[in-house]
């Protein structure tokens, strides 16, 4: 029974992290129409920032400052935003698809740097021993308490995203997305608005990375991969309904439930079939994305403008 509760708490915690990533992507793509295919880069920067600040001192990587999480997590969000600032400043002035290409590039560079800069990140060995908030409470309560912390953080992010979407700033972002020239004609600065949305979304992703690192208690180059850190988040947002924060959260939970359930089913299969099942899943995410685009492009709950 306790095992089942712990498993459930693990799944919900990860769903919460994904909800944070999907909310960040929704600010960028859903609200503003910015294609970020480099989610991994922002998640990784946030995860490593939090990891290096909170982990105990170590000779194998920089830092290990042993800071408390509540000091490190905001800085992880700042780190994600800091990575977004220069790349956004360069790529956002131009066509939408150039941003998609440039963000793939930034994610690749972050991956290379994480793997090769041993002095900073510990290279392939990664950063072990990251403390998880509330783990002193022991099992299972420590894990439940961490779930509550993630849930509270996501609730805060949701409130922030919702306030953004309802605010005049959010309306201006939608205006830039839907008709840049009209927005410009009424005195909005599209380039600046886009940059602000891009940076804010990247901060959400950085914070998501921090929550992930603390949950894994370890961060290394193989702890994150583009399929789950970038592509799955896109499926979640598009399935849930891009442009709608509730859709982003709902999509994150629903798609994660399917993903985790199929993962569990696959793990019941004998050895070779289990690895193959992972590829079938990859195929199915692609197919699901296609079918949603073709049959229900607005997602489960589409964008609703002007109502709550």
């Amino acid at each position: 029974m306790e095992q089942a509760a712990l498993y459930f708490a693990t799944m919900l915690t990860l769903a919460g992290v994904y909800a944070a990533l999907a909310l960040g992507l929704n600010l960028q793509w859903g609200l503003t129409g910015l294609m970020n295919f480099g989610g991994l880069g922002f998640v990784a920067v946030g995860a490593y920032t939090a990891a290096l600040l909170t982990a105990p001192a170590s000779a194998s990587h920089l830092g290990g400052f042993g800071w408390p999480w509540w000091l490190a997590w905001p800085l992880a969000a700042v780190a994600g935003a800091t990575l977004a600032l220069p790349i956004g400043a360069v790529a956002l002035r131009l066509r939408a698809d150039y941003l998609a290409i440039a963000t793939i590039g930034i994610a690749e560079i972050v991956r290379l740097a994480v793997r090769n800069e041993d002095w900073l990140t510990g290279g392939p060995l990664g950063v072990p021993g990251i403390p998880r908030p509330f783990e002193a409470l022991g099992l299972p309560w420590g894990q439940f308490a961490y779930l509550a912390l993630v849930a509270a953080t996501v609730a805060g992010l949701y409130a922030l995203a919702e306030a953004t979407a309802q605010s005049p700033f959010g309306r201006a972002l939608r205006a830039v997305r839907d008709d840049e020239e009209a927005a410009q004609a009424v005195g909005k600065n599209p380039a600046r608005l886009r940059l602000q949305a891009f940076v804010l979304g990247a901060a959400f992703m950085g914070l998501g990375g921090a929550m992930l690192a603390a949950f894994f208690k370890f961060m290394g180059p193989d702890a994150l991969d583009p399929v789950t850190a970038t592509f799955l988040v896109w499926v979640m947002l598009i399935a849930g309904g891009s442009g709608n924060n509730r859709g982003a959260v709902l999509g994150a939970i629903a798609v994660w439930a399917v993903w985790a359930a199929t993962d569990w089913l696959a793990s019941q299969l004998p050895g070779d079939l289990a690895t193959r099942a992972a590829y079938v899943r990859l195929f199915l995410i692609g197919l699901a994305l296609q079918l949603i685009l073709l049959t229900r492009p607005q997602g489960l709950i589409g964008e609703r403008i002007g109502q709550r």
């Binding site: 295919f37 066509r95 440039a102 090769n116 899943r281 995410i285 692609g286």
Partner: protein, 294 residues
């Protein structure tokens, strides 16, 4: 001097030829259909593995398997267009981009299922290199460069001398004008996919011969291919080809030990060169060297 040519210039030219073929296809698709085709890398991989099947099944050399790779990859591109992109033709370019991205995941999954993640090779064996006064060149490199040159010549003939090729360029210049002057839009789109997929499949076989086969091999050159297409001015096939060559050379030369034996850039970051070139272009000359479409 010899080591510069042997270890940097020639590999750079080979890599550049592969980028050029991939980027030219991307550029053609962009010109005719106006979207960034994110499944292009997977077309390369698919071609490479299709050739592997022919090599293993028929016992032929990978060079002879190139036609098989093309014959397998072109229908795949047509099928993806029919099933997904054609339905979304009137949507925003962003939707097509996301759809092509989903196609990429599907093709990659199929390759993983069929061949697994372990790198494979064509088993070409080791041939003595050609040697001339201290300069050495692998035979496979000679063939790859010649093959890319033939592909470029054929593409040039197609685009400049045939009615179909002229229709393709007309679509890229002004789709509405092309339509009202009687260009068969669907036929042009089919031809564009065929040309782009054939180039990608051939580039994939070349890449497999030069290195090894992996389901992500094509995705690994996608960023560089886009960078090359943007460098040359997206929508301009010749610009993309030149962009590809320049990028391949830049990538290899970036690790040249110019300063007292220390590499200019650690070879671990070689793939970052494409990104750096991309960013510099986006800042200085976003329309590309040869003024692509805005």
């Amino acid at each position: 001097m010899e080591s510069l040519v042997n270890f940097y210039l020639i590999p750079g030219l080979v890599l550049g030829a592969i980028y050029a073929m991939s980027a030219t296809g991307l550029s053609l698709i962009y010109g005719v259909m106006r979207f960034a085709h994110f499944a292009h890398g997977e077309l390369l991989s698919f071609g490479a593995y299709a050739a592997l099947v022919a090599v293993r099944g028929l016992g032929i050399s990978p060079w002879a398997a190139i036609p098989f790779a093309i014959v397998a990859t072109v229908p795949l591109a047509w099928a993806a267009d029919r099933a997904f992109y054609a339905q979304l033709r009137r949507s925003l370019p962003a939707v097509l981009l996301i759809s092509s991205f989903a196609t990429a995941l599907m093709i990659r999954a199929v390759l993983y299922l069929g061949f697994g993640p372990t790198p494979l090779g064509y088993g070409l064996g080791i041939m003595p290199p050609l040697v001339w006064a201290g300069f050495r060149m692998q035979r496979r490199h000679v063939w790859i460069i010649l093959g890319a040159a033939v592909a470029a010549a054929l593409l040039h003939l197609l685009l400049s001398r045939t009615r179909a090729g002229r229709a393709m360029r007309a679509m890229a210049d002004d789709p509405d004008l092309a339509r009202i002057t009687g260009v068969n839009v669907d036929a042009v789109i089919r031809l564009t996919w065929a040309v782009a997929a054939a180039l990608a499949a051939t580039a994939g076989v070349f890449l497999g011969i030069d290195t090894e086969l992996q389901p992500v091999m094509g995705f690994n050159v996608l960023l560089a291919s886009f960078a090359a297409a943007i460098l040359g001015g997206i929508g301009r096939p010749w610009g993309s080809a030149l962009g590809g060559l320049m990028l391949g050379m830049a990538e290899e030369l970036s690790s040249y030990p110019l300063l007292d034996g220390a590499a200019l850039l650690s070879p671990a970051y070689k793939t970052g060169v494409a990104f750096a070139v991309l960013v510099i272009m986006l800042i200085l000359r976003p329309q590309g060297l040869f003024r692509g479409m805005g």
